[in-house]
Symmetry: C2
Subunit: 344 residues, 2 copies
């Protein structure tokens, strides 16, 4: 292994001082063109690459963007990640990913690890940080974006949407399509799922059809298999039910499969609405209604907001509402559809 090329080696080769080489690399406009060209050439020729540790130590800053998400397997977050990696491509930043596993304690720990590195920026999931985490964030002295949802006072910046409104919107959609006894299936029950449930409850109360027995939740992670099970649980409680709002599409697909097995006709006898609008929903049989949320865009915007602040530009609005969209498909065509057919 050949010896490492240092700043001073480049400087010696060109006949300038180390700081000049450093300047060429970071602030080329401060160096005369003649010197700049010679230095650039030498850097390339010698294959010099800066040592990030030395840089971090000397400048009290790194090129690290710390990202904290609660799960690496959940589709939702991998979509956000894709947006993040997309937007950061070609920029001189390094993504450092932390997996909190939906644990506030792990979030605190990772925040500690991250802040010691003096990151250039931080992205953190949700609004519900612990007190200690908030303290750490306040001391982090770098721009911070909370992603996935909006609401309350931002620590610094936010990009997301209202899960409460989305839950209410989905439930209303089912109501508008003529369903009355609408169940709620929820897995994981993280803060965002809980707010979707709140939205559901509000819509059901507004329609005067709220009934606790229609709500089935579990702290287990959501899977397709779990969707099958939860529908079973719901039906074992009552058969007076004509639709479900699933807190995500995995559950919804599971519910659809289970309906197929039980010969429950969707959407005629039973409406299904999912959440997240995974691509699969559009090609299921029948295609599933879902709530589309722009997760890649969320990742991209979060990075953009960080960069804007890192470069010292002003932010127009620290809170960005990306909204959501109910994508109505056949799975919620409604019991109305049957009446239509009956009268035809």
């Amino acid at each position: 292994m050949k010896k490492k090329v240092k700043l001073i080696d480049v400087a010696d080769a060109v006949g300038v001082s180390a700081i000049t080489v450093s300047r060429v690399l970071r602030k080329p406009e401060l160096v005369s063109e003649a010197v700049r060209l010679r230095v650039t050439e030498a850097v390339a020729r010698l294959g010099y690459v800066p040592d990030p540790a030395a840089r971090a130590l000397a400048s009290a800053r790194t090129d690290v963007l710390g990202i904290l998400i609660p799960s690496v397997t959940n589709n939702v977050f991998s979509n956000v990640l894709r947006g993040i990696y997309d937007r950061v491509e070609g920029l001189p930043f390094n993504i450092q990913l932390g997996n909190t596993r939906y644990s506030l304690l792990e979030e605190e720990r990772l925040l500690g690890v991250f802040s010691r590195q003096r990151p250039a920026g931080l992205i953190i999931t949700g609004l519900d940080q612990s007190h200690r985490s908030k303290t750490l964030l306040a001391q982090a002295d770098c721009p911070i974006v909370q992603i996935m949802e909006i609401g309350g006072d931002p620590i610094d910046m936010m990009v997301g949407f209202s899960h409460r409104d989305a839950g209410r919107g989905a439930t209303r959609h089912l109501q508008e399509r003529g369903y009355r006894r609408i169940g709620f299936l929820g897995a994981r029950m993280d803060p965002r799922t809980q707010r979707r449930l709140e939205g559901y409850e509000q819509a059901m109360k507004e329609a005067g059809s709220f009934d606790e027995r229609l709500i089935v939740t579990t702290h287990r992670a959501s899977t397709v298999t779990l969707g099958c099970e939860l529908l079973g649980e719901l039906l074992s409680r009552t058969h007076e039910i004509d639709a479900v709002f699933c807190n995500n599409d995995d559950l919804a697909i599971g519910v659809l499969f289970e309906c197929q097995r039980r010969r429950i006709s969707v959407p005629d006898d039973f409406g299904i609405c999912g959440f997240n609008d995974l691509e699969m929903t559009a090609v299921a049989n029948p295609p599933l209604t879902s709530v589309r949320t722009n997760r890649e865009e969320m990742g991209r915007r979060a990075i953009e907001m960080l960069i804007t602040r890192i470069t010292g530009e002003p932010i127009d609005d620290p809170v960005v509402d990306l909204g959501f969209e109910i994508v109505a498909r056949q799975s919620t065509a409604g019991p109305i559809a049957r009446e239509g057919r009956a009268s035809a």
Copy 2:
């Protein structure tokens, strides 16, 4: 923002030198118990946390484990990641994740970024690194694990399975169940997919039923929707076909959905075999046969191998074959099933 607590501050508080505090933190057995206790107490009381940049600069080593995977959205890799994060939990290492987007050039670039940090270990996906990447890896001077597949000479260590054998095994399974005209649907066509295709070709040739027209591939990323499309393409070429081996489960689910729409009876008229055994396959209608590969275990083992080497212990075998398992479900019950019924 209160001033940062440094090693020397702790040392002054206890009345020892900085290096002694450093020793207590890294090699406590070298320090007398009396001093050790006082130092530990002071560290806790003052809230001292080491600066990773200073550490890295002084010791020429970091606690970074660099991971290079081709996609953050692909289920397969998020499963591996989960295993990695699982196994590393509680250990004094930091995961640094790089997303190569299936690009050898991006892989090279990230490898450059990573090796400059003097990582404690590296995990890289697959066997097909570029020449330059191999040079960088050779110079990295840390343990390296290639994951996902095995074959050829390991750069250092390997954990995975033979995709060729798995492709051959899946195809044979279909043949054993009585299917003859078996199609192959492939997306992305990364090296591992290509080797699965090779296995398929081998099995088809061995059975004397190889036909190029039965192979439909695309470089697009695999999705459920794409599975629908690829089946359409295959059927537009020929209707003399009684099964498909899909290079992953997303495609397989899409094929199933498309069969439902076209009223093609699975498994009676058409067998479907997927790959990866996502949990969803078990609850589809009918449940889908797939090839199970233990991806979480792969992540865990990779970390274990790194750690073993980092701690200087010997590795029993640098190449770990995790194998695969054909999980036979109803979707490949075979045309035989119909004969059975017919004769009943």
